[in-house]
């Protein structure tokens, strides 16, 4: 059996076994789940070591009915999918192990791991898909795992709402994606990634642009791009390891991965590329501005994720598939690290998430602090950490292609350093704001700190030697940008850190000076530009009104007036007819009688 199938199906088996058999045995369930993903990681490393001698396994004929429908279930093994497999199983393994500590004592411990395994299976399915329908199937399945995990603490209203919101917002994107896929199929007659590139050229450019834009809708939903970004910050209602794995490192990056996988559809269309680049740029900047005014340790990271995803999408739009994947990979390392670090802080503070109740924690949680700082520096793009290399590639790409986007991107980089500086300084430095919680704060157990260290190492070395871009495109020399440009860009995060240090690196730090300086703008970013309010209004008034009208139409127009009128007529007719009949015949019997009479009449007449 091809090891790829084991990588893919082991987590599914784990999820099934836990749900059906070992639900009661919590530790066993967790170990089964961990074993499944670690097996996947080891097998992926083995594949990785084969360097170029990969064989995609024979696809299974899943849904084949003559010429009517022909859908394969296959696995694509190439550089792109192997890189993504490594990210998912590698980061995933770390987070599975971390969860052993983080979720300890939760009554839904087994359920958590079952969902996590289901997610891993679905995510790996996306990575390996060799056709659009297969990718769509797994696309929806990650949506479900995400729904289940966001709403993991389903008793909480906010968690239940957030799960629903995530699923439905994604569904809107999927609606567009499905249209795009069907439109593509109508023009080419195939869903298969291997067969499609040869047939793309025959599609008129206008249609192709539309297809690209529609397929991009799927990525807008899953990768939480503007204007469907609203679900991701709310998704932080899920347990922190989930935020790290699904809503930072892997699933939300699936949109970017999908765009890279189907780049043959997008790259030939200038229209689609422009749209993608701008949506990415807008998301990056918008999310970064919102992040400066948030107070929840996880929400700041969530907006940061949005912003970084915006970078990746922008890179795709600027035809930079390799930089996008490069940044996706490094981002998976340091963002998972940051979330796990945040989880460790939250645990230390006894489930407190407001940064303004923390402070001075670096002494209490040294490992968490050190690794969190590494993550922060990597995210801000400080040399020589991984984020520096990958972010620079994107910014320099923008500089080459589109100056406006470059300026937006550079400003976003400045903001990134600024809001991350704010978070670090407020959480780890200054004086403890909640004395009681501070006194009881403690470093997390080794099952949690070990993954932190592992991810910190990756966050440091992930970008060295441009190994990842080389792996993706071995025969192509990475575009040699002038080194000085890259280092010049270092000034940007430096400025951000300096500014935030000036404001927040003191004992009695507060947002007051920024608030005063920004005025009305602060209110806007604090309230996330009122997108949630706008959408809530639309749902309440537009969707609610349509639903109410449908109901009223059914109840009153159709039922009372239409049918009521008809019934009135019938009963009048019935009463009239009853006068003609001697017996008290029910109306239906009468009508049957009439039918029979008609039959006999005609038979006789004929």
């Amino acid at each position: 059996m091809n090891p790829v199938w084991i990588i893919l199906f082991a987590p599914l088996c784990a999820a099934a076994i836990i749900t059906l058999l070992t639900r009661k045995a919590q530790m066993l369930s967790a170990l089964i789940s961990c074993a499944a993903i670690i097996t996947g990681f080891v097998l992926t490393l083995q594949l990785f070591a084969q360097q170029g001698n990969w064989m995609s396994p024979e696809p299974l004929q899943w849904l084949v009915v003559d010429n009517i429908v022909r859908i394969e279930f296959g696995a694509t093994i190439d550089r792109l999918s192997i890189l993504m497999l490594l990210v998912v199983t590698g980061v995933g393994s770390a987070i599975h192990i971390y969860s052993l500590g983080y979720m300890k004592g939760d009554p839904g411990f087994s359920r958590f791991f079952a969902c996590l395994s289901l997610f891993t299976f679905s995510m790996l399915g996306i990575v390996l898909s060799n056709n659009f329908i297969q990718i769509f199937i797994f696309w929806e399945l990650v949506g479900v795992s995400s729904y289940l995990l966001i709403g993991f603490w389903f008793e909480k209203h906010s968690a239940a709402e957030a799960g629903k919101k995530a699923f439905l917002t994604n569904r809107i994107g999927d609606f567009g994606m499905m249209l795009g896929v069907l439109l593509l199929w109508t023009n080419t007659g195939t869903f298969n990634f291997a067969e499609l590139p040869a047939k793309i050229a025959a599609i008129p450019s206008c249609t192709l642009g539309l297809i690209g834009a529609l397929i991009f809708c799927g990525a807008v939903g899953k990768s939480a791009q503007f204007p469907l970004h609203v679900w991701l910050p709310d998704a932080m209602e899920g347990p922190t390891p989930v935020s790290a794995l699904i809503h930072a490192a892997t699933m939300v990056a699936a949109g970017v991965y999908m765009l890279c996988r189907v780049s043959f559809v997008i790259l030939p269309s200038e229209t689609a590329l422009t749209l993608i680049a701008w949506i990415g740029g807008i998301t990056a900047l918008m999310a970064a501005t919102i992040a400066i005014a948030q107070n929840d340790i996880k929400r700041i990271l969530a907006y940061s994720t949005l912003s970084q995803l915006g970078y990746m999408v922008m890179a795709v739009g600027l035809t930079g598939i390799t930089p996008a994947m490069f940044h996706l990979t490094t981002h998976a390392f340091f963002k998972a690290l940051l979330f796990l670090g945040a989880g460790s802080v939250i645990m230390a503070m006894h489930h407190e998430q407001d940064i303004w109740k923390m402070g001075g924690l670096w002494k209490k949680t040294p490992i968490t602090f050190a690794t969190f700082m590494i993550g922060t520096l990597a995210l801000a793009g400080v040399w020589p950490l991984s984020g520096f290399y990958s972010k620079d590639e994107i910014l320099l790409l923008a500089l080459e292609h589109n100056k406006a986007l470059f300026i937006m991107g550079a400003f976003t980089a400045f903001l990134t350093a600024y809001y991350m500086g704010r978070e670090c300084f407020v959480v780890f430095f200054g004086k403890p704001r909640d004395k009681h919680a501070y006194d009881h704060a403690h470093e997390s157990p080794w099952v949690m700190t070990l993954p932190l260290v592992f991810l910190a190492v990756l966050s440091i070395i992930g970008g060295w030697g441009s190994y990842i871009p080389h792996f993706l495109k071995p025969d192509e020399h990475a575009a040699h940008h002038d080194a000085w440009k890259g280092f010049a860009l270092l000034l940007v995060p430096a400025a951000g850190f300096l500014l935030s240090a000036k404001i927040y690196l003191k004992a009695d730090a507060s947002d007051a000076p920024v608030k005063a300086a920004l005025g009305r703008a602060w209110t806007w970013v604090e309230n996330k530009y009122y997108f949630d309010e706008l959408y809530a209004w639309i749902i309440r008034y537009v969707q609610g009104t349509i639903a109410m009208l449908c109901e009223l139409f059914d109840r009153w127009v159709l039922q009372r007036l239409g049918i009521g009128g008809l019934a009135g007529t019938t009963s009048v007719a019935g009463k009239t007819l009853r006068l003609l009949q001697t017996g008290n015949i029910q109306s239906y019997a009468f009508l049957f009688g009439l039918g029979v009479t008609v039959i006999i009449y005609y038979v006789v007449v004929r």
Partner: protein
């Protein structure tokens, strides 16, 4: 073997024999007899399924002269259009009976009517002569009327009469249409009528009949107008049963008031009788009339999908919400069916086949998922005696198994890939999309709205705070878990491996598509 060549008749009439036995047997054995007979029918249906050759046409045919003076044969058979429906009926009925295992009021009459209903349903799916097809069609109506009337909820009288009047009004249109067809052609046989229609003889015969009619009555009808009237007559009868928007308003009331098993059978099978009628009667006999009115018909299907979903969104009654989801789901099936006629000619053959094949799969899938959803509503109604969504919440905490089964059924209904709902809907979209871009795009809005009302339902029932009143509710018992497990098995199995059903209907689907 005793059944030999008459396996379809046995399957159909064993429940009738069981009903008779219940009549003479004691009170306590009624449920055993009912279950046993429905299991015998299930065995027959499984044998039919096992012996069914997907490549061949009509199979297991039985035919003998019945009323020779009127040229009426007793004619049974199954082909790709009906074999899946026969199987569905055989699977759902015993489960619905099990759902009422603890029926404690008038149980003899209850199980008697249920078996009568089963005979009616099998009869509709196997009959090939309109004469007894129609008898079975009405036979499905009367027991259901009493099931709602006697064992229904608070508004049962209103709901049962509404159900009855509606369906009956529809039946009359259909009866008249078929009577006229009979006078024109001299046959009630569906196979013969289909052949006549395909060869064009039907048109000539109707024209001849209209001339004769005009001579006798002096009405001055045209043949085309007359045929269109026959088409709409038949259409009305079937559209009410499906139900197609705007003929659906009987459904929310009937479903909401019916006892659990009644709702299960009503949603899973009785609605399919209407859709099946379109496949068996309307497509083969009135192809030109469908094509002429295609925009209206597609529009009504899309209205069912979208408006059905929106109406579901406005519901506060758990059962009514699920009922509206049926309107929504049957809309997909009807869209797929009408797509077959959207363009005349051999163009788009594969696309049309995909749409129609998807519609057939959707029929089966909806049978499974709607039965599960109604059963879930029934379980909670039995425990709380309320269907008001606002009174639930947090049930997942005390009833995890219930929440699990409801969740899977909900996702199956939502069309989640990996569960049964997806493949059918996808094939309908895939087929309709190239044929009619406009209606396909519009109908896909339903994808989003369906998600909204189903997830909201799940949230209101299972998540958030538990209502203190229900904190000691027991989770599902073994019998209930068994019913849920059987249905879930089909959801997963058909989601992962739908090919057997698609293969079974494929040649019949292509035959129908070939008519256009």
């Amino acid at each position: 073997m005793i059944c030999g060549n008459h396996i379809l008749s046995w399957m159909t009439f064993v429940p009738l024999i069981g009903a008779a036995l219940i009549g003479v047997a004691g009170k306590s054995s009624a449920r055993l007899i009912a279950l046993a007979t429905s299991l015998v029918s299930l065995a027959c249906a499984v044998a039919v399924w096992a012996g069914f050759d997907p490549g061949a046409g009509l199979q297991f045919e039985e035919r003998f002269q019945w009323i020779s003076i009127l040229n009426i044969d007793y004619h049974l058979g199954v082909d790709g259009l009906s074999v899946t429906m026969v199987l569905l009926t055989a699977i759902i009925t015993p489960l619905a009976l099990l759902a009422h295992w603890n029926q404690d009021r008038d149980e003899k009459l209850f199980f008697f009517l249920f078996l009568l209903l089963q005979t009616g349903m099998f009869g509709v799916f196997t009959a090939l002569n309109f004469f007894h097809w129609f008898i079975f069609w009405e036979l499905g109506l009367i027991p259901m009327f009493f099931l709602i009337k006697i064992w229904g909820a608070e508004d049962r009288t209103y709901a049962s009469f509404k159900f009855f009047i509606y369906t009956l009004a529809g039946s009359i249109g259909m009866l008249l249409a078929f009577s006229f067809l009979y006078f024109a052609t001299g046959t009630f046989d569906m196979v013969e009528l289909r052949q006549l229609a395909t060869s064009g003889e039907l048109k000539a015969k109707v024209a001849e009949f209209v001339v004769g009619l005009n001579e006798r009555t002096g009405l001055g009808l045209t043949a085309a107008g007359f045929t269109t009237a026959l088409f709409w007559g038949t259409f009305l009868g079937l559209a009410i049963k499906v139900p197609l928007w705007p003929f659906h308003t009987w459904l929310p009331d009937a479903h909401t008031q019916a006892p659990t098993g009644g709702s299960m059978v009503l949603a899973a099978i009785l609605l399919k009788m209407g859709v099946y009628g379109f496949l068996r009667i309307v497509l083969p006999i009135f192809p030109a009339q469908i094509t002429d009115n295609i925009q209206i018909l597609m529009g009504l299907s899309v209205a069912s999908i979208v408006l059905g979903a929106f109406a579901a969104l406005a519901q506060t009654d758990f059962k009514r919400l699920v009922a509206y989801s049926s309107v929504n789901h049957m809309g997909y099936a009807m869209l797929g069916i009408f797509a077959t006629a959207a363009v005349a000619g051999p163009e788009y053959f594969d696309e049309k086949s995909a749409a129609l094949g998807g519609a057939m799969l959707q029929m089966f899938n909806h049978g499974i998922s709607s039965a599960a959803l109604f059963f879930m509503v029934g379980c909670i109604y039995e425990r709380t005696h309320t269907r008001n969504l606002a009174e639930f919440g947090g049930l997942r905490k005390i009833m995890p198994i219930y929440a699990g089964i409801l969740g899977v059924s909900m996702f199956s209904s939502l069309g989640l890939p990996g569960l049964n709902g997806f493949v059918g809907e996808f094939m309908v979209f895939k087929g309709v999309f190239p044929i009619s871009l406009f209606w396909a795009c519009l109908s896909m809005i339903g994808l989003v709205v369906t998600g909204v009302f189903l997830l909201s339902m799940m949230q209101k029932v299972c998540f958030e705070n538990l209502n203190e009143k229900w904190k000691s509710l027991p989770d599902l018992n073994c019998r209930e878990i068994f019913i849920g497990a059987v249905l879930m098995f089909f959801m997963f199995a058909l989601g992962v491996y739908p090919s057997p059903l698609l293969d079974a209907s494929n040649s019949a689907v292509k035959g129908l598509v070939g008519l256009f």
